[in-house]
């Protein structure tokens, strides 16, 4: 009894600390795309599910894909979404609504970078329904991030306190309860109900060319990302899901500057494709891409993109999705 009395303040302190954090999470973390996306993949079945990064979210339009292939499709790709996040997204979808095919967008730039302190992944975890998949995801994130990331995810938004009133208003609204996309327009973001995040043709971003290379320093990140990528492929095998891996186009200038990087990235993925037997379509590198038809794999000029990294503008994205859909229909 005495020891219990001594421990009570510590237990109360822990509860208080967790309570304060829950409150701050509610107030500070805004409503974002992943909540809608997770809700849809947990409640609906799509024939084609697109996984990937911001390149995939802005370059692959499910509406065009469905129009050409005649199959239902949904885009779950998002900025800051690493192979680990894609693996758990697919695993979450497979619990009740397994897709027939996954189109995995492979952006090698992600593979060479560390993936902790990521708002998207942390939010995605929060909005997932409670399941063994969520617990596994939580465990993996715990060991990837620091203690603040795990216990106090609101700190990732510590520059947006001015949005507290707006966040509360949105979270109490009908649109939030319906998992609607309308509140997103308010924050300057646009995400369509099919998960596509178009970038308008006039949008202009940073045109500088990123510094990309495989090195000894980033090899450990490559190893971790490759490990989750392979886990995704193994999950596909187990569940009988067809996997297609796609690298979206990048500006010709970027490709010219970073040729060794994209060449090596291509070769690494080819090696994995040979091991796991999936189709790999590399639109970033026409000369190395699978079928060397010029029309199917054109060189993409810089006006197709909003920045030097290669985020596609909407017109180019729709053209690209059509080409991709035609390629997928052949197989």
């Amino acid at each position: 009894m005495r020891i219990f009395k001594k421990l009570l303040p510590f237990a109360s302190g822990l509860c208080f600390f967790l309570g304060i954090n829950m409150l701050l999470n509610y107030l500070i973390i805004p409503y974002q795309f992943p909540r809608m996306k997770i809700h849809r993949i947990e409640t609906e079945t799509f024939q084609d599910l697109i996984l990937g990064t911001s390149h995939g979210s802005s370059a692959i339009d499910p509406e065009v894909l469905t129009e050409v292939t005649g199959r239902s499709s949904f885009n779950t790709a998002a900025g800051g979404q690493y192979p680990r996040d894609n693996y758990y997204l697919l695993a979450d979808a497979c619990r009740q609504h397994r897709p027939e095919r996954v189109i995995i967008e492979y952006d090698p730039a992600y593979w060479i970078s560390k993936d902790s302190f990521n708002r998207n992944a942390r939010y995605q975890l929060d909005v997932m329904a409670l399941s063994p998949v969520k617990l596994g995801y939580f465990k993996d994130l715990c060991f990837a991030g620091d203690i603040r990331y795990v216990l106090m995810p609101w700190f990732l938004y510590n520059d947006s306190f001015d949005r507290i009133a707006k966040n509360v208003e949105i979270k109490r609204s009908e649109a939030y309860a319906r998992y609607d996309v309308s509140p997103f327009a308010d924050g300057g973001q646009v995400c369509e109900i099919n998960g596509f995040t178009p970038i308008q043709d006039k949008a202009e971003g940073d045109r500088s060319i990123p510094d990309l290379e495989f090195s000894d320093e980033n090899e450990r990140y490559v190893r971790i990302n490759a490990e989750y990528f392979k886990k995704t492929l193994q999950l596909c095998e187990r569940e009988g899901i067809e996997a297609v891996v796609v690298t979206t186009p990048v500006p010709a200038e970027t490709l010219a500057e970073t040729e060794p990087f994209y060449r090596e990235a291509h070769q690494r993925m080819e090696a994995i494709a040979a091991e796991y037997d999936f189709i790999y379509l590399d639109y970033a590198w026409p000369s190395l891409g699978a079928p060397p038809e010029e029309e199917a794999f054109p060189v993409w000029e810089s006006q197709c993109f909003s920045d030097g990294e290669g985020h596609m503008r909407i017109s180019a994205a729709q053209k690209f999705t059509r080409l991709l859909a035609q390629e997928l229909s052949k197989n």
Binding site: I3, P9, F16, C142, F155, N158
Partner: protein, 491 residues
């Protein structure tokens, strides 16, 4: 496993809980197991190095009781040989490659986590046994725990066998006051590290990293480095001490308000204290009491007179010590220069002690005069800050260039870390300023002999919880997001 990672705190929680759940007599084995797990997480291969250090210390310690010099010299040679091989081989190769026609290939050597710290700790144990200051440890597992106790493994403090080992094996009973004191110290350490050090690091990395582009901000760079280095190192030590304290184990203090030091010697008595005392006991005294030094002392007294002659010999010993400290910091010329700078200034201080005393007397100044105390503190702070040019730069050329450029018209820039976002820079800067104000207040209270944590313990339990929660929220709110690595973990 970083001090700011989730798995580290999970390990700490499991360790402390398990420690009090196990019977007292086997608690030390639990600590040994957790320490092994912690070290293996850094790389299972590194365990072999640790095991090697434990075995040499154990066998060496048993043999050292004989009093034969070789019995202690061989294990010391093996320990320091391993350290030197791993740490300095590539430096030696780079020096040799400067000779015409020499192109030796570099070796791929990985420095095991905390190797400097556990090598020093085991060497101290060996010498203590040899000098009959303690009995040799017959149980290799207990010795392994002394060398590998996980909170201090990464960056110290360097413990002494006589004081630490009995505490580790004793098995303390649960006391909630110890837990509160430990949590308080850990939170304080985390605040120093996350809020102060990691924010100051943004300025330091920018100013030192782009010194050819950003000219004239050298003094801002070293001032920020003072904040970063102190908050980072002492914060890490606070965390280590706090974790140990929760289990009733008192590790040695490593800092005592170093920036209140009035002389450079005083600074080194307050900064990285356990390294300083280690150097004093195991290097300085053996040098000053050696035969050749005795001869030199006699001769120098003849040449320079009694006072200068004595200062001359002590000066030589100090220069040797600080060159060793410089080399210990890393295999690079700028670290050696850093050691020489400190050693030579302390030696020079010794030479002029008599003259200073006369000047002070003639001017009617005493060491207790308030303005003179302030002046001495400021002077020491300046001397220490200049030494950071050598410590933080990556080469002697960079240190000199930055020092030279510091005397231009541009001395300060809040927005240097991100000129495109001045508002964010101002928040960072004010965070550092506010953190320094809190740190200064606590330091003044500690310097006056007040027990700051004692004040915390006087609060009701809910008051403590409010304060700790507030501190943790501040860490999250104003802390900088980085990998959570500690500077001294690299040494």
């Amino acid at each position: 496993m970083s001090f700011t990672s989730f798995e580290f705190w999970l390990l700490v929680a499991v360790c402390v809980t398990g420690y009090y759940l196990f019977p007292a007599r086997i608690r030390w084995t639990w600590l040994l197991g957790i320490s092994g797990l912690y070290y293996a997480a850094a790389g299972p291969g590194f365990l072999l190095y640790l095991l090697f250090a434990v075995l040499t210390a154990w066998i060496g310690g048993m043999a050292a009781v004989s009093g034969k010099k070789a019995a202690v010299a061989l294990p010391l040679l093996l320990d320091f040989g391993m350290l030197a091989w791993l740490k300095y081989t590539n430096f030696l190769i780079s020096c040799l490659n400067h000779f015409p026609g020499v192109t030796l290939p570099y070796l791929e050597l990985l420095l095991p986590l905390g190797i400097s710290f556990y090598t020093f700790q085991s060497a101290g144990y060996l010498l203590d046994v040899y000098w009959k200051r303690c009995e040799p440890e017959r149980n290799p597992a207990k010795l392994a725990l002394f060398i590998s106790f996980f909170p201090q493994l990464m960056q110290g403090p360097i413990g002494r066998y006589q004081t630490l080992s009995p505490q580790l094996t004793q098995g303390h009973s649960f006391d909630d006051t110890l837990i509160w004191r430990g949590i308080c110290r850990i939170t304080w350490g985390l605040m120093k590290k996350i809020v102060l050090a990691d924010n100051a690091a943004l300025y330091v990395n920018r100013i030192f990293g782009a010194y050819t582009d950003i000219r004239g901000l050298g003094f801002q760079g070293v001032l920020m480095y003072s904040i970063q280095l102190y908050a980072d190192f002492s914060g890490g030590i606070d965390i280590a001490l706090g974790i140990a304290e929760m289990m009733g184990i008192r590790l040695d203090e490593n800092f005592r308000q170093p920036f209140f030091a009035k002389t450079l010697t005083d600074f080194w008595h307050r900064w990285h204290i356990t390294l300083g005392t280690w150097m004093k006991d195991y290097v300085f005294y053996p040098i000053t009491l050696s035969e050749w030094m005795r001869t030199l002392r006699q001769r120098s007294r003849k040449w320079f007179g009694r006072e200068i002659g004595k200062a001359f010999c002590i000066g030589i010993a100090n220069v040797i010590i600080f060159v060793v400290v410089g080399i210990w910091h890393g295999p690079a010329w700028h670290y050696i220069a850093y050691g020489l700078y400190n050693g030579l200034l302390i030696a020079a201080g010794g030479f002029f002690t008599g003259s200073f005393r006369k000047w002070k007397k003639s001017l009617g100044i005493t060491d207790q005069t308030a303005w003179f105390r302030g002046f001495r503190m400021l002077r020491t702070f300046l001397i220490v800050n200049i030494s950071w040019f050598l410590d933080r730069s990556v080469s002697l050329g960079q240190a000199w260039q930055m020092f030279k450029d510091s005397f231009g018209s541009r001395l300060w820039s809040v927005t240097v870390i991100d000129p495109s976002d001045p508002e964010k820079c101002m928040v960072r800067f004010l965070t550092i300023a506010a953190g320094c104000a809190v740190l200064l207040t606590v330091s003044i209270l500690s310097e006056k002999g007040k027990d700051v944590r004692g004040m915390f313990l006087k609060l009701p339990w809910w008051g403590r919880i409010l304060l700790l929660t507030g501190a943790m929220l501040l860490c999250a709110l104003y802390g900088n997001m980085d990998d959570g690595g500690f500077i001294y973990a690299n040494f």
